[in-house]
């Protein structure tokens, strides 16, 4: 279980998070919605320790993850529980596709031999609908949708307990977006993983989410099961899910 309590983060004068409280139960899929620039990515990155919150506490299974002075081994063990799909894929362009997917498998204390890692990488690529031939290509040779799928394969390669998806469908055509949404849902269900997705694509929300939280003005404006999303009277949520230009959320930001 991941809990965030009263998390604050500012970049200079820009106060991005102003007291976020959120709980994500193990084995559930939480989707964070909210406009661009509302700090959704910052929220994800705070949990991973890529961004250090100014104040507040983030715990994973009761343990404070923002505690300072963690040793390298502790940090490795902590990060080994996570997989993350980045918005632009963030594939390493100097490495081949299979080396990207197997990046974690061939390094660290539990490193496996390369041929075995390659087999596993190809297996994961197949899982996300890519042919084995793509394994030896470089990321720059792939289309955007394929890069995203490789990113997805890399995120799930080490079978993490918790997977983060940062705008998994942004920049994809509607069909590819649908494919990615279905893949994420399937993978989360079959792996029994805890998932946290940030998106502003409502089709993603409906395909992926068990629970939804809306981030606005630096706080969680609304949270609840996806089944209650349409019925909530909250004007912010209503404006967002229906994509209206007028409402309490300013369109000039």
């Amino acid at each position: 279980m991941i809990t965030l309590s009263d998390v604050h983060k500012a970049f200079g004068a820009n106060r991005v998070l102003q007291g976020v409280n959120l709980t994500i139960a193990s084995g559930t899929s939480m989707v964070i919605i909210g406009g661009s620039g509302t700090g959704k990515s910052v929220l994800l990155k705070s949990i991973l320790g890529l961004v250090r919150p100014d104040s507040g506490m983030i715990t994973l299974d009761g343990q404070d993850v923002t505690a300072k002075g963690k040793s390298g081994a502790d940090r490795d063990a902590f990060l080994a529980r996570f997989g993350m799909l980045f918005q632009g894929g963030a594939l390493f362009d100097s490495l081949r596709v299979w080396e990207n997917v197997a990046f974690r498998l061939v390094r660290g204390a539990k490193a496996m031999p390369k041929p075995q890692a390659r087999e596993l990488a190809i297996e994961k690529l197949r899982r996300v609908g890519l042919k084995p031939e793509t394994a030896d290509l470089y990321p720059a040779e792939l289309s955007g949708g394929m890069q995203k799928r490789v990113g997805l394969a890399r995120a799930i390669a080490a079978e993490p307990e918790i997977i983060f998806f940062d705008e998994p469908t942004t920049g994809l055509d509607p069909i590819m977006a649908g494919v990615i949404n279905d893949l994420i849902r399937e993978i989360v269900v079959e792996m029994g993983a805890t998932a946290m997705t940030i998106t502003h694509d409502m089709s993603s929300v409906r395909a992926i989410a068990d629970n939804v939280a809306m981030l606005h003005g630096g706080v969680i404006r609304w949270t609840g099961p996806v089944s209650e999303l349409d019925a909530t009277p909250d004007p912010y949520v209503q404006q967002f899910i229906h994509g209206r230009a007028d409402g309490p959320i300013e369109s000039v930001r």
């Binding site: 890529l50 390298g72 980045f86 963030a90 594939l91 390493f92 362009d93 990046f103 660290g108």
Partner: protein
């Protein structure tokens, strides 16, 4: 009025000191990581190839033209007091002590600091650095340490090669344009060149190599967002590496040759 003036002086001074502090911390952290595992040998090998091997043509060309021009200048200058015979030894000493390491360092700064800063800056901007962290890999160890070690180790070799090629440039000009006897030229070169002339230059080379890779990595890791951010990081890397090389050269020359 006074406060404004003082502020105008103080702010840049504070910023400069803060930058030096950040750089110092960065350098210290990198050095601290060099001897601690994990070691990324493949990355080190690639860096050695990129920084050392592929810089050979640039360093060689710089050296041969510099050695040739040096021979012409010293001949013309020496002729004013009938000292044309010093050409071989001055070319050798000048190349080994100063021009080999400094010009080689500057050329490598242009070639390597820029490419490191652009590559790491792009990785930062496209979240590849964050991705490394989430894959339990320390970017300092994986990206920075191999490049810094490779540059520090390969620069002395580049400088030694540059010295030899520069001296050859002087010799070529000496025997074709200045009527030197080939054997006399080479004998003069060898007789008057001391081990420390070359050794000090190699030390300088190692220091310059460290500076080049460190600047490339530092500015790349601190790149701002977007194409403009990467462009600015690349420019800062080359400029700061070049200036630091020249400053370090003066300091090292003071240390080595004044007593």
């Amino acid at each position: 009025m006074i406060a404004g003036t003082l502020g105008a002086i103080g702010r840049p001074a504070l910023q400069a000191l803060a930058a030096i502090g950040r750089l110092g911390l960065f350098a210290g952290t990198v050095i601290g990581h060099i001897l601690r595992p994990p070691f990324y040998l493949r990355e080190f090998g690639v860096a050695l190839l990129q920084i050392g091997w592929f810089s050979l043509p640039v360093v060689g060309l710089t050296a041969i033209f510099t050695g040739g021009a040096l021979a012409l200048q010293i001949y013309a200058g020496g002729a004013r007091f009938n000292a044309e015979a010093v050409v071989p030894s001055i070319v050798a000493i000048g190349m080994a002590r100063e021009l080999g390491p400094v010009l080689g360092g500057l050329m490598v700064a242009a070639r390597v600091a820029s490419s490191i800063a652009a590559e790491i800056g792009t990785m930062k901007v496209t979240e590849q650095i964050d991705a490394l962290v989430t894959l339990s890999t320390n970017p300092l160890k994986y990206l920075v340490v191999p490049r810094v070690v490779a540059a520090t180790l390969s620069m002395p070799v580049l400088v030694a090669t540059g010295d030899a090629i520069g001296i050859m440039g002087g010799w070529l000009v000496g025997i074709t344009r200045l009527d030197f006897n080939s054997a006399t030229y080479l004998k003069n070169t060898v007789d008057f060149l001391e081990a420390w002339d070359v050794g000090s230059g190699l030390f300088k080379g190692a220091a310059f190599g460290f500076i080049v890779a460190l600047m490339g990595c530092y500015h790349g890791m601190n790149s701002a967002r977007g194409a403009q951010g990467v462009g600015a990081a690349t420019k800062s890397a080359v400029v700061s590496a070049s200036v630091l090389i020249l400053a370090a050269n003066y300091i090292l020359t003071e240390l080595f040759f004044t007593s």
